[in-house]
């Protein structure tokens, strides 16, 4: 059975930590998550017991490292229902998206082609495509959002056309946290001959993902947002598309042979994309993180987080001084402002109560169009948060107008 109090014992950061003299309440999980002991031990295990480089199979230690990297690749593949060869290790979501933008977008797009994004995308799913536009002369267009800021199928149908070659969208957006119907969208993209790249940074940690069922062409996500280490992430791509994609980096570990005339034979995917020494401790930790989540069960995580969000919404709704921007979103994010208080001042007031949240512009465009404000406070949950923590947040927000308290008490 899902027992949050038992789960919390697995995390060093959730035991007896304080901030500003109060018990630490961490509600910035969309930025990064805490790590269970198992993940930290897996990282340590690499340095304590196995510290050899990969691809150096001449001795036992090195063989063990190769074996373990391969094992984690299989763990990741099983986690999202992909094949092992379709899993590329990257430094995180940003690098995964850049790899597709530079390795596929720049190689194949021309000035007659078009890339479709939404105005709710995170910078890491916008700026790489701007680069593709700069180099190829292709166009960038935006799928219109509905009045709540949600990506709609109708919106996509309105703008997709025979020139659309790539559609790049987040499955759950990082500010409003609406869940997008990827399965339906990939069907429409493929009918128009476009590829679908999904930014899974905010979705993979929270819901069960099946890339076969979704039929997306690429999926990017980060390890550190799902209880894994920083500096490790994943790019999933359909194998035939990965074969067509150029490596983003070249060098040791991604070539089969080369001569001094410039003839190079690259390895096959995924090794083709993994030039340079890998983040081996990160890979060990990522494997442990996914095993940890699967042990709890993604369905249980999703169910509990939904319950937590509903509880938070029902409490926060009673506060007259609060504006809630995404009451009906599916993701584990609640975006708010306290009336007449600048977001950053509110976040710093909450800090003085031991509560960690994120204030920010997140994405200026959508905020202007849909939220009518320049900045918001983002509360983001993980499966290890509790209703008691939401009660602490609620009590703090009740007096959230007195934000200079943080400065004088």
């Amino acid at each position: 059975m899902f027992d949050v109090y038992k789960i919390r014992k697995d995390f060093p950061m959730l035991n007896n930590k304080t901030q500003q003299g109060h018990p630490l309440v961490y509600l910035d999980n969309a930025a990064t998550t805490f790590k269970p002991y198992k993940v930290i031990e897996a990282c340590n295990n690499y340095y304590l017991n196995e510290n050899a480089n990969a691809h150096r199979g001449d001795y036992d230690l090195a063989y063990k490292v190769d074996f373990n990297i391969d094992k984690v690749r299989q763990t990741v593949a099983n986690f999202i229902n992909a094949k092992k060869e379709e899993i590329v290790f990257t430094s995180g979501t940003s690098m995964s998206i850049n790899l597709i933008a530079f390795g596929y977008g720049m190689k194949y797009l021309t000035k007659d082609d078009e890339i479709l994004l939404t105005e709710a995308e995170h910078a890491s799913n916008v700026l790489p495509w701007f680069k593709v536009k700069e180099h190829t002369g292709c166009k960038i267009n935006y799928i219109p959002l509905d009045k709540d800021g949600r990506l709609s199928i109708d919106g996509l149908k309105k703008v997709i056309n025979e020139h659309t070659k790539i559609v790049a969208i987040a499955q759950i957006s990082n500010v409003l946290a609406y869940l997008v119907d990827i399965k339906e969208i990939s069907k429409i993209c493929h009918e128009h001959g476009a590829l679908l790249m999904v930014d899974g940074a905010q979705s993979v940690p929270h819901i069960k993902i099946d890339v076969k069922d979704l039929d997306c062409d690429f999926l990017s996500f980060s390890g550190h947002k799902l209880c894994g280490p920083t500096g490790i992430g994943v790019l999933y791509g359909k194998y035939n598309l990965l074969k067509l994609t150029d490596p983003f980096m070249t060098g040791g570990g991604n070539n089969a042979r080369f001569d001094m005339c410039g003839n190079v034979a690259f390895l096959q995917p995924p090794e083709k994309f993994e030039a340079g020494t890998l983040n081996i401790e990160g890979i060990y930790g990522l494997g442990a993180a996914i095993e940890y989540l699967e042990n709890i069960g993604m369905e249980n995580i999703e169910k509990y987080e939904k319950e937590l969000r509903n509880y938070a919404i029902s409490k926060l709704k009673t506060l007259q001084n609060l504006i809630i921007y995404n009451e009906f979103a599916e993701g584990s994010i609640i975006t708010i402002n306290v009336k007449d208080v600048f977001a950053q001042d509110e976040a710093s007031y909450l800090n003085s109560k031991g509560i960690c949240v994120r204030s920010g512009e997140h994405c200026a465009k959508i905020l202007h169009d849909f939220l009518k404000t320049v900045a918001t406070v983002r509360i983001s949950f993980s499966f290890y948060n509790t209703k008691e923590e939401i009660d602490i947040l609620y009590e703090a927000l009740k007096n959230g107008g007195d934000f200079l308290d943080a400065y004088f008490n």
Binding site: Q344, N351, F403, Y407, F408
Partner: protein
């Protein structure tokens, strides 16, 4: 500024400079000002400081942009403090202010209303807010500026 200034008064001073800052505007004759845009990497603050020098004297100083309570009010108070001063006097005020922020010995008399930020170290994440304008002025006084 009395040394025994109380928290209630301090709050009022901060809120007053946030809600009705007297120096927050882009000068109409901005071509006569040096300016620098201070765009924080870690928060929302994004303010531009405008400085008009007459030989060695700060003839005028303004700022504009988006900022939180602490960055807006600390920059507004800074403008009040250095206007009409020589560059050397301004450097002295800045040095005292930064000493206060970083908990080093400082001269309260030189800081006037700016002493309301003496508790900033208790909220370390706000140090960048309380110094963004002051760091911008330091850059301008050292000859650094935006060309656009």
């Amino acid at each position: 500024m009395p040394i025994s200034i109380n928290p209630t008064l301090m709050r009022e001073i901060i809120m007053d400079h946030y809600n009705s800052p007297t120096n927050k505007e882009t000068p109409e004759d901005s071509e006569n000002y040096f300016h620098i845009r201070m765009d924080s990497t870690s928060c929302i603050d994004d303010i531009t400081i405008y400085l008009k020098l007459n030989n060695n004297i700060i003839e005028d100083i303004k700022f504009d942009g988006v900022g939180c309570t602490i960055s807006t009010s600390s920059t507004d108070i800074m403008c009040d403090l250095v206007k009409g001063k020589t560059k050397e006097e301004a450097f002295k005020i800045i040095e005292n202010y930064l000493n206060m922020i970083y908990e080093k010995p400082y001269d309260e008399e030189a800081l006037d209303e700016a002493i309301v930020f003496q508790n900033t170290h208790k909220q370390a994440a706000r140090i960048k807010c309380a110094t963004i304008g002051w760091n911008g002025l330091t850059k301008l006084l050292n000859g650094e500026k935006d060309e656009d």
